[in-house]
C-alpha cells in the first residue's frame, strides 16, 4: 500500500503554485546561465574561426556544477520543513497516534522530497542536453551525473529531515541543515587546508601531508561530484590532484574508486540518518527533543 503521508504531501504540493514556480525558477536560472556560457563558447569560435570543444565542454561542466549548487541549496530547505512543519501545524501528534510508524512518516516525507528532486532533475534534462549540439559528452556521462545528483540530493534531504525531526521550528531546522551542509562541503576542505598549513609551517610531524585526513572528504558530496565531472570533461584526475597536494603517499582502492565509494557512503549515511530520525521521532523513546514540549498542562 502507498504511504499516506507521501500521497498527502504530493496532493497538497500540486495544488499550489509553489511547485511550478520552483521548477520554473530552477530551470530558468539553469537555462540563462547555460545560454550565457554557450554564447561565450560561440563567440570564442567566431574569434578563433573554429569550434573550441573545450569551451563547449566547459559549458556542460558549468551547467552541472550550477545544478549541483542549486540542489545543495534547495533540498535542505525543502526537507527541513518536513517534520517541523507538522509540529508547527500541530498535526504531528495526530500522525503519531495513528497506526503509522515514525519510520513510515519519515520515509513518506523523504519520498515526497525526493519526488521533487527527481522532477527537478528530469526537467533540467533539456537544458543539459544543450551540450549535445556540439557533442563531446556521452549520454552515459549525463546519466551518471544525474545519478550523482540524485544521491547527493538524497544525502542532503536526509540531513534536512534529521534536523527537521529535532527542531521545533522550520527556521531552526533550515539553519542547522544549511550549517551542516556548509560544514560538510567547505568545512572538510577547511580542515584539510589547516592541516596543510600546519605541515608547510613545520608544526607537527606531517611526513605524508595530511595523510589519512584526505579520507575526510569521502563524505563531501561536492568532492565526488567534481571528481565525476572532471573525469568526464578532462583527463585530469581530481582526486589524484588532491592527493598530490595534500597526501602524496595515499593510494589504493579507495583513491582509485573514490566517486563510487563516496556515493555509496552517502547512501549509507543517508539511510543511517533516516533511521536515526525515525528513532528520534518515536515519542516513546526517552529522549527529550526541543520539538517536544512536555510541560504543556492546561
Amino acid at each position: 500500500m502507498s504511504n499516506p503521508v507521501y500521497q498527502n504531501e504530493v496532493k497538497m504540493s500540486v495544488r499550489t503554485a509553489r511547485l511550478a514556480l520552483l521548477i520554473m525558477g530552477f530551470n530558468g536560472i539553469l537555462a540563462v546561465l547555460s545560454l550565457l556560457s554557450l554564447y561565450g563558447a560561440v563567440n570564442r569560435s567566431r574569434y578563433f574561426g573554429s569550434v573550441q570543444f573545450a569551451s563547449v565542454i566547459q559549458t556542460y561542466s558549468t551547467v552541472v556544477f550550477i545544478e549541483f549548487a542549486m540542489f545543495m541549496l534547495l533540498v535542505p530547505a525543502i526537507t527541513a520543513g518536513s517534520i517541523s512543519g507538522e509540529k508547527e501545524r500541530k498535526t504531528l501528534d495526530l500522525l503519531l497516534t495513528s497506526r503509522m510508524t515514525p519510520m513510515s512518516i519519515v520515509f513518506g516525507k523523504l519520498k515526497a522530497s525526493l519526488n521533487l528532486v527527481i522532477i527537478l532533475v528530469v526537467s533540467s534534462l533539456p537544458v543539459l542536453s544543450l551540450v549535445f549540439i556540439f557533442g563531446g559528452i556521452r549520454i552515459r556521462d549525463l546519466f551518471l551525473v544525474l545519478a550523482a545528483l540524485l544521491i547527493s540530493g538524497f544525502f542532503a534531504g536526509s540531513l534536512g529531515i534529521l534536523f527537521s525531526t529535532v527542531s521545533r521550528k522550520t527556521t531552526t531546522a533550515t539553519v542547522f541543515s544549511y550549517g551542516s551542509m556548509i560544514a560538510l562541503i567547505f568545512g572538510s576542505y577547511g580542515v584539510m587546508i589547516l592541516l596543510q598549513y600546519l605541515n608547510t609551517n613545520n608544526i607537527g610531524n606531517f611526513t605524508n601531508g595530511i595523510g589519512k585526513g584526505i579520507y575526510l572528504l569521502i563524505v563531501n558530496p561536492a568532492v565526488s561530484f567534481i571528481a565525476l565531472v572532471y573525469s568526464q570533461v578532462s583527463n585530469e584526475d581530481y582526486i589524484a590532484g588532491l592527493c598530490s597536494t595534500y597526501a602524496p603517499l595515499e593510494q589504493g582502492f579507495i583513491i582509485d574508486n573514490w566517486v563510487l565509494i563516496s556515493l555509496l557512503v552517502q547512501i549509507l549515511v543517508s539511510v543511517l540518518l533516516l533511521l536515526l530520525s525515525s528513532w528520534l521521532l518515536n515519542p516513546l523513546h526517552a529522549v527529550s527533543l526541543p520539538g517536544r514540549k512536555h510541560l504543556e498542562e492546561h
Binding site: 497516534t97 495513528s98 497506526r99 510541560l295 498542562e297 492546561h298
Partner: protein, 309 residues
C-alpha cells in the same frame, strides 16, 4: 474499559504524575478535571502513546496498553486541544487521509467518512477546504476524524477551548449523543458547568494525584458532609429551635423565618436519627437537606484543600 494504576511521570526533578490511579467504565462520559499543571495532559499523552510513563500501567479492556502500543492506537481516538489543519485539503480528503493512516481505504471508508461527517453535523461540507471551516466546525471535523477507525475510547483534551457558546453547545450535544450510542469518552475541560451537565462521572486530579472520582452525585455527597443543613418547618419554629439547641451535635444554628441553618457534626446515621426524632416530636418538617454545592465549588474546595495542607 480503562484502568490506570500508579502512573508516575517525572520531568527532571518535577513530578508531573505521582502514582495516579483511576478507572473509566464502558459507556461512560468521564470528565477529567484539574488545575493547570495538575497532570491532565501528561496523563492523556501517556494514554495516547505520545509519552512514556516512568512507571505504572494503563489497562484497556484488561490488556496492558503501554506494552502494546499498536493495540492502544487502534483502540483510542484522540482529539487534541489545538486543531492543526493542512492547507489545500478538503474536509472529505482530510477524513480520508486520516483513514489511510489507519490502513483504511476504499469505497466503504469513504462512505464511513460521510456518515461521520453527518454525525457531527458537517453534511454538505465535504468539498469545503478545512481551513475555510469555522473553528467549531474544525473541532467537530477533528472529532469525526478521531472516530474514523471505530475506537473503543475517545479522548478529548479541552475540546471546547476557544469555541463560541453555540459551538460549545453543539459539541456537548454531539458528545452526549455519542455516549448514548455506547461510546466511552474521556474529556478534559475547564468548563466545569458543562462537564457537570453532560458527564456521567468525573475525576479530579491535582499535583499528579487523583483527589476524587465517581459520579457527580457521589462526589457532591462525599464533599458536602461538612456543609450546613438547611431545614424548613411548617410551623412551631420555637419547638424546633428548642429541640435543636438540646442536641450537642448541632452547631452554628441560625434562623430566618421558617428556615433553619445549622452545622451537624454527627455521622449520616445520626443525621437521619435527628430528622426522625424531630418528626416523632411532632415537628412538621417541610425540607431537610445538606446545602448543595455545584461542581465548580467542589472543585475549588478540593483543589484549595490540598494547597492549604
Amino acid at each position: 474499559m480503562l484502568r490506570i494504576e500508579n502512573l508516575v511521570k517525572n520531568y527532571g526533578k518535577f513530578r508531573a504524575l505521582n502514582g495516579l490511579s483511576m478507572e473509566v467504565g464502558k459507556g461512560e462520559l468521564f470528565g477529567f478535571i484539574g488545575p493547570n499543571g495538575a497532570g491532565k495532559t501528561t496523563t492523556i499523552k501517556i494514554m495516547t502513546g505520545l509519552l512514556k510513563a516512568d512507571s505504572g500501567h494503563v489497562y484497556l479492556d484488561g490488556r496492558d496498553a503501554l506494552k502494546d502500543v499498536d493495540n492502544l492506537k487502534q483502540k483510542i481516538g484522540y482529539v487534541p486541544d489545538f486543531f492543526g489543519v493542512y492547507d489545500n485539503l478538503k474536509a472529505i480528503e482530510y477524513m480520508e487521509f486520516y483513514a489511510s493512516t489507519y490502513g483504511l481505504v476504499g469505497k466503504e471508508v469513504r462512505k464511513r467518512c460521510y456518515e461521520l461527517m453527518e454525525l457531527v453535523g458537517l453534511e454538505g461540507r465535504d468539498d469545503v477546504y478545512v481551513d475555510e471551516l469555522s473553528r467549531g466546525m474544525q473541532q467537530r471535523l477533528c472529532l469525526a476524524r478521531a472516530m474514523i477507525h471505530k475506537p473503543d475510547l475517545l479522548i478529548l483534551d479541552e475540546p471546547a477551548s476557544g469555541l463560541d457558546p453555540r459551538s460549545r453547545f453543539e459539541m456537548k450535544t454531539i458528545l452526549k449523543e455519542l455516549c448514548r450510542k455506547g461510546s466511552t469518552i474521556l474529556i478534559s475541560s475547564h468548563i466545569l458547568s458543562e462537564l457537570a451537565e453532560m458527564c456521567s462521572s468525573i475525576g479530579i486530579i491535582k499535583k499528579g494525584e487523583l483527589l476524587q472520582q465517581g459520579s457527580i452525585e457521589e462526589i457532591v455527597s462525599a464533599v458536602n458532609t461538612s456543609n450546613p443543613i438547611l431545614m424548613r418547618v411548617c410551623d412551631d419554629q420555637k419547638k424546633a429551635l428548642d429541640f435543636l439547641r438540646e442536641n450537642r451535635m448541632v452547631q452554628a444554628l441560625a434562623i430566618d423565618g421558617q428556615e433553619f441553618q445549622f452545622t451537624f457534626t454527627g455521622s449520616a446515621q445520626e443525621e437521619a436519627d435527628l430528622l426522625n426524632q424531630m418528626v416523632m416530636q411532632g415537628i412538621r418538617v417541610l425540607s431537610f437537606a445538606r446545602k448543595r454545592d455545584n461542581l465548580e465549588t467542589i472543585f475549588m474546595q478540593l483543589t484549595k484543600e490540598g494547597e492549604e495542607g
